[in-house]
Amino acid sequence: MMQRGDIDTIVSWVPEGGKVLDLGCGDGELLHRLQAEKRVKGLGVDIDLANITASVGKGLCVVQQDMEDGLQNFGNSRFDAVIIAYSLQVLERPHAVLERIVSIGNEAIVTFPNFGHWRSRLSLLFTGRMPKTKALPYSWFDTPNIHFCTVADFETLCKDLNIVVVERRMSSNMGPLAQLWPNLFAKSASYRITRR
């Protein structure tokens, strides 16, 4: 998980002592780090019991539910940051979830693998097959990642949803190239977004 490159970015963006909701918290590694380093008041949400158990074992508060069911139970809450780290691509209706998280969070932090990365492009161009990478090793037919997008796609969607990008950071082993041409060179993208 750590090699993804988005985690340090998320940790740096989350406000100290803030109230944080981590959607698709997985085994709780990120939230655990945020509690240790940023003393956040954290709550995790995950749909999978093994992830709930792993998170609970780290001393975290987690709720088992499908984040695509509307998150209505967070209607009264106001979070300093709502995080979706590397799970946007597994959602059935990512746009609906994005709209929702900017309404329950003062700010949302969204990170995802950039499908516009040159390796993905070359892979599809030359092999004619859906790309597989070390980080995303699934075959097209049994992948949980049903909604890949590129940096450009994401920003277009934000615009359509009236969501403002406060800050973005690209992670890549290509250094400055990723900042210049993120859609081509960023391996993963991290966004701080908010409602207009």
């Binding site: 158990t53 792993a54 609970v56 074992g57 508060c61 987690v62 709720v63 088992q64 967070f74």
Partner: protein, 380 residues
């Protein structure tokens, strides 16, 4: 003789008794001039008393939550899957207390006890007790045992309701609260099932308005029927299909056969009913189901559950089971959501299970793993 699974159990345990001479003012306005509790404890209370855990029992449970009463005992306490060395409520770490609730029929003051004023058994005159009354008696037991604070209060079903009541009634006493397969209050359907069970008892000619002891009788038929209804609601339809299907226990549909056909499920329910008659009291059943019906955690917040929880300071674990329709996952979600709205620390899981409401008592690896993992945060 078969070997007991004492290795992973608390082993031999014996119940103890505590007498509380001071009057107990019940929610109903009635007063009990003192009462007795029968209880069991497992593990050792540490010097600073920080590792005490209260376990609250459900409708037909009692103080015998774990371990065995004798070498020849074949059945351990009702929550032996959960309480014991290395189990979620780890007796190597915690000092566990479980008492039979008043109004019960396993040794604590209840309808079968003698009423001092009349010299006769209380019978149906035993005052109606509530979940809050039980919490009061449990608090007195804690003080009697030199416990000033519970590291955790834990229960399933009606026991979960007691744990929740503790968390709002005595917030300073409870640092962790676990409510499994519970609800903030019963639904109309739930109350209806309880009423059917009660009417089954009342319609038995041996009921004698609840004074069957004096009439030297027992409403066994009514009790068995009440239990059959209750037991049915604790199981899921899928589990029943798996377990019984349409299989016959005896007889056949062959007209030549003299023996009437009896389905496995009929035989099973009759057995459950008859077993219950031997170990449970009809007045207690009526009292306990009424206590269940009347419990409404939200009343503390004038109907607003979030408001009712505002003083709670415990961290909560709420667990439901997917096939439980008696205390449905939606009720546990309602509880968890109210805790979230009240800005309390809460974890919630809906465990996939086909065992219905009874799942909270059973040996389900996923459930026990989650429960154990969560208990890790409870300082012993």
């Amino acid at each position: 003789m078969a070997q007991h699974p004492f290795d992973d159990s608390v082993g031999l345990v014996s119940p103890q008794r505590a007498h509380f001479p001071e009057a107990l003012y019940l929610e109903s306005g009635e007063v009990l001039d003192g009462f007795e509790l029968i209880y069991e404890t497992y593990g050792e209370l540490c010097a600073n008393g920080s590792n005490a855990v209260l376990v609250c029992h459900a409708l037909s449970g009692n103080h015998h939550a774990a371990g065995f009463h004798s070498e020849n005992d074949t059945k351990p306490g009702w929550w032996d899957t959960v309480i014991g060395p290395g189990k979620p409520i780890d007796t190597n770490r915690f000092f566990v207390v479980c008492a039979n609730n008043i109004g019960g029929c396993d040794g604590s003051t209840g309808p079968n006890s003698l009423c001092e004023a009349t010299g006769a058994p209380w019978g149906s005159h035993f005052p109606q007790v509530t979940v809050a009354d039980w919490v009061e008696t449990q608090k007195r037991l804690a003080e009697y045992l030199d416990i000033q604070h519970w590291a955790a209060v834990i229960g399933g079903s009606l026991g979960g309701m007691q744990a929740l009541e503790w968390s709002v009634r005595y917030p300073d006493w409870v640092s962790h609260c676990v409510a499994i397969a519970a609800a903030p209050g019963l639904t109309a359907q739930n109350i209806a099932f309880n009423e059917i069970a009660r009417q089954a008892i009342f319609s038995d000619p041996e009921w004698h308005d609840g004074n069957y002891l004096e009439a030297a009788s027992n409403p066994a038929q009514g009790m068995a029927l009440a239990r059959m209804v209750g037991h049915l609601t604790y199981m899921s339809a899928d589990k029943m299909t798996d377990r019984f299907g349409r299989e016959l226990r005896q007889g056949s549909f062959d007209p030549q056969d003299d023996e009437e056909p009896v389905f496995q499920v009929e035989s099973y329910l009759r057995y459950q009913g008859s077993q219950f008659v031997g170990r449970f009291d009809a007045n207690t059943y009526v009292l306990m189901t009424r206590a269940l019906d009347r419990f409404d955690l939200s009343s503390r917040g004038q109907g607003n559950l979030t408001e009712a929880l505002k003083d709670a300071s415990a961290e909560f674990l709420i667990i439901s089971f997917s096939s439980d329709w008696r205390f449905a996952p939606s009720r546990s979600q309602e509880m968890a959501n109210a805790l979230l709205s009240a800005e309390k620390r809460v974890s919630y899981s809906d465990i996939e299970s086909d065992a219905g409401h009874d799942a909270f008592l059973l040996d389900d690896a996923n459930y026990l793993a989650l429960f154990s993992a969560w208990m890790g945060r409870v300082a012993a």
